[in-house]
């Protein structure tokens, strides 16, 4: 299988003389992977996710996206990748309060200069798929957290990206809503062939993934693969690993 993302010796810090957040990450993500990144608070998982999502740039090391070195790409190309090839879901949804649900969903499509009809069709399709028809013209503050997260999911998927990145997408949701969200992501992975990368601290969410990567202090420690194991078994393995950390 071809790799979608590959990191080689990736290091990252925010300030010139600051502490290193990521301290030499080597990681290969294949197409249609379903990965969870886990670790204690402050281990660098969100930074890793943002670097993968091209929201942050690496300080040292190389990052290859679909075989192309990101360091050789121009700003506009990186923006194009972020817009077309990736969909980002945030923990606090990050919807624009001044826009309706429909407008929030189609915002990435508008930025991509998508044809009007195609944009409308896709928006409608996603709204139907996620069952938020009743909230089409509502504003985010008029909806619950779970509904908002579904809108965020729609927004992330409007441009039909190959990769979906989620930063604690179920963090602000109750267990039922959280489960719905993760099941939807699993469905996108299996049915639509999307590569899904999540950051989570919850083993109950991570157990849906096929791979779980553990981080500590900016390093990748270990990787667990589900293979044919049952989710419950995988959950126990993950929980045990988290205990060790």
């Amino acid at each position: 299988m071809s790799s979608v993302m590959e990191l080689k010796g990736l290091r990252k810090r925010y300030e010139e003389k600051g502490d290193w957040i990521l301290k030499g990450i080597d990681l290969r993500i294949e197409k249609q992977d379903f990965i969870a990144i886990m670790g204690r608070s402050g281990c660098g998982k969100t930074t890793l996710l943002k670097t993968l999502g091209l929201i942050e740039s690496a300080t040292e090391g190389e990052y290859f996206f679909e075989g192309n070195a990101v360091s050789g790409l121009w700003g506009s190309e990186i923006a194009d990748i972020r817009r077309r090839n990736m969909g980002f879901i945030f923990q606090d949804y990050n919807l624009m309060g001044s826009l309706t649900v429909r407008e929030n969903i189609m915002l990435p499509a508008l930025l991509d200069k998508m044809d009007e009809q195609q944009r409308k069709d896709r928006t409608e399709k996603l709204i139907q798929r996620f069952g938020i028809q009743a909230y089409r013209d509502k504003y985010p503050h008029e909806m619950s957290g779970g509904q908002q997260q579904r809108v965020a999911l729609c927004r992330a998927l409007i441009n039909d990206p190959d990769v979906i990145l989620g930063d604690e997408p179920t963090g602000n949701l109750d267990s039922v809503m959280g489960q719905q969200v993760i099941e939807t992501l699993a469905e996108f992975n299996e049915t639509d062939g999307k590569t899904v990368i999540l950051v989570t601290h919850d083993p109950k969410i991570a157990m849906y993934c096929r791979k779980v990567i553990f981080m500590k202090d900016g390093h990748l420690l270990d990787c667990l693969e589900r293979r044919d194991a049952e989710k419950e078994t995988f959950y126990r393995e993950i929980a045990a690993k988290m205990e060790e950390l």
Partner: protein
Amino acid sequence: MSNEKKNLQQNPSRYFRVLTAVLFLADVVLAPWLREGNRSFSVRVFIHGVKAAGGIEKFALTEAGKGNTEGIANLTMNYWCIYLIIFLGAVLLLRAAWLLAGRKERFLSGAAYALGLLYLCAFMIFNYYGYSGGMIVGMLLVFLDAMLGKYLDERQALREAEAALRAKEQAEKEEKKRREAFPGRYGSEFYRVIFKNFRANIRDFLLFLVGAVLTMTVLLVIWGMEQGCGGIRLLGASALQQQIASSLKQLLPVFMLLAVLMLSLIISGYLRTRMKNYSMYIALGIRNKTLIRIIGLEYGTCILTALAGGILLGLATLKIIGVPIAGNLLRMLPPAVLCYLLVVLISTLVNYHIFEFKNVLRYNRSSANEPVPRYGAGVMMGIGLFVMLGSLGLFARRGSGEDLYILGGLIAGFGLFLYGAATRILKKRVDRLQVTETGLLTILPWRNRFRTNVRFLFLLTALQIMLFGIFLPRLAAQGIPPEKTAPYDYVAMVYDSDLPDLQGLKKEGTLQELPMLRATTPLGADISRLKKDYRTVLWPQGQHIAVSESSYRKLCRQAGKTPQKLNLSADGHRVHIVMQQNAASEAHNLEWYSGGGGNLFRLGQPLVAYDRNQVTRTYIPHDATYERTNLVGALHAGNQENILVLSDSYFRSVYSQKRQARDPSVSIPPSAVKEGPDQLVLIRVKTGQNKAVESVLKKIQKRHSSDLQYDESIRTWYGVAKAEKNNEAAADFARRMEEMTAVGLLLMVLFTFCIRYSLAGAEQRKEYRLLGTLGMNDREQEKLFNREARTYVLCSMGAALVLSAPFAALLPFLRMFRRSQSLLYLRNLLGLGGGTMAVLLLVLTVLTRYYRRVNR
């Protein structure tokens, strides 16, 4: 065909080298190559001759003669060297064929040049026969082949390199175009959504709009009033016009500085809010160019809307005030707009490059903290203190003229001092702080938003410094009644030759003649040059009236004043200056060219020109004592027509000299016969005789109209009543301007307070919500809010009062108040200051209550 081969074929040196080969061969075969006496013969002929003789030995014996061994040897070598030429020709021919075949020929060219050089050397050694034209041509051809051929090669190489570079650039351009291509257009839906987001956040822009509208309005009013008075250049201006222009000239830069501070504060708040939205666009994959366009559109819309609003409001204000707009619009609008754009630009740059260092094009989810600086507190405090004390010192100099620019120095110094002091204080408090202390909550806003809070405090204080230090004291001084008017109806400065006309006026009233001299300051130069070159003369100052000490005493007694005891020097260096102005007028220097303290003046006419690098040679510095009173009439409110008192002996010594001739060492206007008027004539008129007196004075003025061409502000005569009416109007205007400015400053203080709490609203609401969640009750929250607001209000007011006090205290000294006037001034000041403080505190308390409710 390979590129190399193609390049070779296109190289012109190739054809050149083929040509030289052909020409060389033709030269060798056909041209006479050698010479003996009158005979010239070609190579072919030489070889044929040798063959015919049966070989070179026999030929040489025949030619050179038996026994001529040297000749025989030379001739033999001559013969064999000819074969070098033939060989050279063959090499060139081969090379030509090689070139035509598209091959490189470096080796062959090298061989040919070597052969040529060898032949030349050999010929120089063994030269039985001399050279002929053919040989010269042949050698020249070889030389040219080498030099010109090389030049052509190098030129070709350069051209190829250039073409390759161009091709590379073109390829890069096309690659860039391809990689940056983003075909299609943003539909109307895109703009609608962006605009919807913009509109929904209009509250963030509202403060910016209001601030910018106010800025533009005030700038337009200032420029409108300035143009309405005929421009800053006061040619023939009345006292009123001078007052207006002087006030406006000083107000403009001060206002612009405050506007920059205010707008930069607002813009930083607006940016912080908008960056959350911009970060979201970036995360969704917007291109930088698109984002820049969106930011530009939003920002540009606000600036242009504010510009339009400010213009309308400004024009309306000018209309209400009564300033003529039509005819002045083109003169007032462009400079006002330029000043506005400059203020906006500086405020924006202040945020982007000095205080924020944020790249709005990078993803930035959370607003970064503004930490307390680590270094430099002591240095900043030291520099700030030095600048403040320096400003105070400058202001205290007699001759500073109450210059508002000095105040700018004070405010700048205070800014530095505040920054350093706040850093020091916070560091100390943070170090001492225990985690459980409630003081932590008071410190937190400063610890996390240091720069913003310092800027806010600085702006609040700066405005109050201006209010309490300058404009309230000026208003307090306005309350001092004007001096008793001079006991004359007319004051004229005439020549001896005019006296006969004036004698006729004795029946209309009483006349008093006092000898006088015209005194001019460095800036009283020829006005005609001003029209050609504005750099020559800046501020014509007209004339001052120099009199003797005896005349001074007479004038004092007549005006009902007690003359001062003077200590004037016989050499004229120490003089006494009577500033003829009211206590309500700004303190004026005699001249400001040297900063005012030098008292530079010259007895005589204004000059056409003088060497500005040696001004003190022409305009002599004097030591002076001062007095402020009205002896003949406060005709220009202290700007000119002040009285310079010289010692009797000195006055006498220069008086006759100045009456007779012009000073040959300086260039006074050609039409000036001598150095100015001779007599100060003071006229008291019987009732109803004014017209008669004025008609005579006008006649005299016309006679000396050439005097006025030097400086239109020079007057031959004054109707004292009319002049004083003009001064009253000027004073009245000044008072209204100062009232307006004081009110404006008061409003700006309140507005700044509102800006602070409006911008911090969202953050404060979040914080207080969290505090409530953590268990802090309403009462405690109110106390915390009040404490913070009180800190700002009291610290700024306290600092402003402390810094303003010296300036307010200096005013009576600068304006030379008498004791009774000082007491009146103090009473007015305390009343005004107390009242203003009360109003400020009251309104700020109300605002605090409002924001306490809204921001919690």
